[in-house]
């Protein structure tokens, strides 16, 4: 809840490229990322982006593939706002925010109806064509909301997917044709299979305030911008999923400018995230 004067001061700051905490318009807050924080999940990650804190866990189950994509697995995305974020997120408001974040995260990873072309290649999740496949549940838990939650969730999801260890499965063919082929799951971590995640995007939220375009807003700044675009960008800079938010229109010139900013900032962000994942994996001890 900001006063009109604070809002004006922040907008003027954005125009002068000096924000309240000294950052420039295209500067991210410090990022802390740890991988493998929940040892009872197949893959997990914890991200702190400034004040915003998110934990993502990836679990896998056995399921039957959808008839439209018999050789591909399934992926489900869900976001929950923990009561730790504050009493204002209990009940309807929290579930509303969680549902919209989950939809935007899913949109950035979405594969075609045949299971191909997604951020994670779902065909790698198939086990027996048409019969059994892996169902991957990517669940995010938002612990603290301090602005730019969707970017933090997408970074944590990318890290958790990179950390995911699929148990290796050996299928013994059934002798008679009526009984099912047995699946033998070997969950020794050294024999586990990793997912291909280089094409998993990170969402960059670019917001417009007057003539300035700003990235990684904290909670106060989010009340001072007219409109924002959640743009999922891959490491190569291509656009994967976009959703507009905010109650005022964006003119076409600004739209192209904002897409350009995301395509410039996104790959740099992914580089930083990948470095964290590499170093995070090495020091993934029990520290929480």
């Amino acid at each position: 809840m900001l006063s009109q004067h604070e809002r004006h001061y922040i907008q003027q700051g954005m125009a002068q490229n000096v924000r309240n905490d000294g950052r420039t318009c295209e500067h991210y807050r410090p990022l802390k990322l740890e991988v493998g924080v929940l040892n009872m999940t197949s893959g997990s990650a914890r991200v702190k982006l400034g004040g915003t804190e998110v934990v993502v866990g990836v679990k896998v189950d056995i399921a039957t593939p959808s008839p439209d994509a018999p050789d591909a697995g399934l992926a489900y995305y869900d976001v929950e706002i923990s009561p730790l974020a504050g009493p204002e997120y209990l009940g309807y408001a929290g579930s509303e925010l969680g549902a919209s974040l989950a939809q935007r995260l899913a949109r950035s990873m979405q594969a075609g109806s045949d299971g191909r072309g997604g951020a994670v290649d779902l065909t790698a999740l198939g086990i027996i064509k048409g019969k059994t496949c892996w169902a991957m549940y990517v669940d995010a838990l938002v612990i603290r909301v301090d602005g730019n939650v969707l970017d933090a969730v997408s970074i944590a999801a990318k890290a958790a997917l990179a950390d995911t260890k699929l148990p290796s499965i050996s299928v013994t063919e059934a002798e008679g044709e009526d009984d099912e082929p047995e699946l033998e799951v070997d969950d020794d971590p050294s024999a586990s299979v990793r997912l291909e995640t280089p094409s998993v995007p990170c969402i960059v939220t670019v917001s417009q305030a007057g003539r300035s375009y700003v990235v990684d807003l904290c909670e106060e700044e989010e009340q001072c911008v007219d409109a924002s675009l959640h743009i999922a960008v891959t490491a190569q800079g291509s656009l994967r999923g976009i959703t507009k938010q905010g109650s005022s229109g964006i003119d076409l010139g600004s739209l192209q400018e904002m897409l350009g900013i995301a395509q410039r900032v996104g790959p740099k962000l992914i580089q930083v995230v990948d470095q964290h994942i590499a170093s995070g994996a090495a020091t993934a001890q029990e520290e929480d």
């Binding site: 009872m40 999940t41 923990s82 009493p87 549940y137 838990l141 603290r144 301090d146 929480d288």
Partner: protein, 247 residues
């Protein structure tokens, strides 16, 4: 499946009267009045306190509200087991709420409300004991006055041996189990929950062991509270007396 080996060791190598590795971290959640992270073995719980603050427009019935949340990432099993654990958590949060109402002096709660929110990050047995400990530590960290310092502990009788701090595997058996919230100064029990049929002698044995467990936990909790206070004191100002604050 043998839960207590002839040499008296449990599945994870602990002795019957040995707690799992305990880790406590206070005040790690910014943006809250008080917070506490409690880790017992693989069970990880994070609690936050908001308040005491002005009750919102509609004055609620009880001034303390406690929410225990279990999320999809914290449960080993599938969706159904998460819902089952969630229901148990809501039921336990009612017991915890009225225990806290007795612990916090009435004048604090007269026209202010306190929200105690507990998030289960990973559930591996002894969940409600960890939640109770985290909630009370968070209250103390928030500077809310408490009548007494208390701890919670979970015990069970497996293969006629009394075990303390059961892991998920051990508590899955249909063995007699007892969990208590124990007030250490007044040596009284604020909450007691028992599962499965047990003889009265077994109950006494379990309560006896649970009390010992609580006393051990309280010393660790007290140590964490003291060191956190000492740190805050030594950074904020070497002089401590209130008089100097009024110069």
């Amino acid at each position: 499946m043998e839960f207590v080996s002839p040499e008296g060791l449990r599945l994870d190598g602990r002795r019957p009267k040995e707690l799992r590795k305990l880790r406590i971290k206070l005040g790690s959640l910014d943006g809250t009045d008080g917070s506490a992270f409690v880790q017992l073995g693989n069970t990880k719980v994070l609690a936050a306190v908001f308040g005491p603050r002005g009750a919102p427009t509609g004055a609620r019935s009880s001034a303390i509200s406690c929410v225990i949340a279990v999320s999809a990432i914290s449960v080993q099993g599938d969706r159904r087991s998460k819902e089952r654990l969630g229901r148990q958590a809501t039921e336990f949060s009612r017991a915890l709420t009225n225990a806290m109402e007795q612990l916090v002096p009435a004048d604090i709660l007269k026209n202010a409300c306190i929200d105690v929110h507990v998030q289960v990050l990973q559930a591996d047995g002894g969940l409600f004991a960890a939640c109770a400990n985290a909630a009370l530590l968070a209250l103390a960290n928030a500077g809310v006055p408490l009548r007494d310092i208390c701890a919670a502990c979970h015990t069970g009788l497996l293969e006629s041996t009394a075990l303390v701090d059961l892991s998920a595997q051990e508590s899955m058996q249909q063995a007699p189990q007892a969990a208590i919230l124990y007030e250490c100064r007044t040596q009284s029990i604020a909450i007691m929950q028992t599962d499965n049929k047990m003889s009265t002698t077994a109950l006494e044995e379990l309560l006896e062991l649970a009390t010992e467990g609580c006393i051990a936990l309280v010393t660790a909790m007290r140590q964490a509270l003291i060191s956190s206070t000492v740190q805050q004191l030594s950074t904020s100002a070497p002089h401590a007396s209130a008089a100097q604050r009024r110069d």
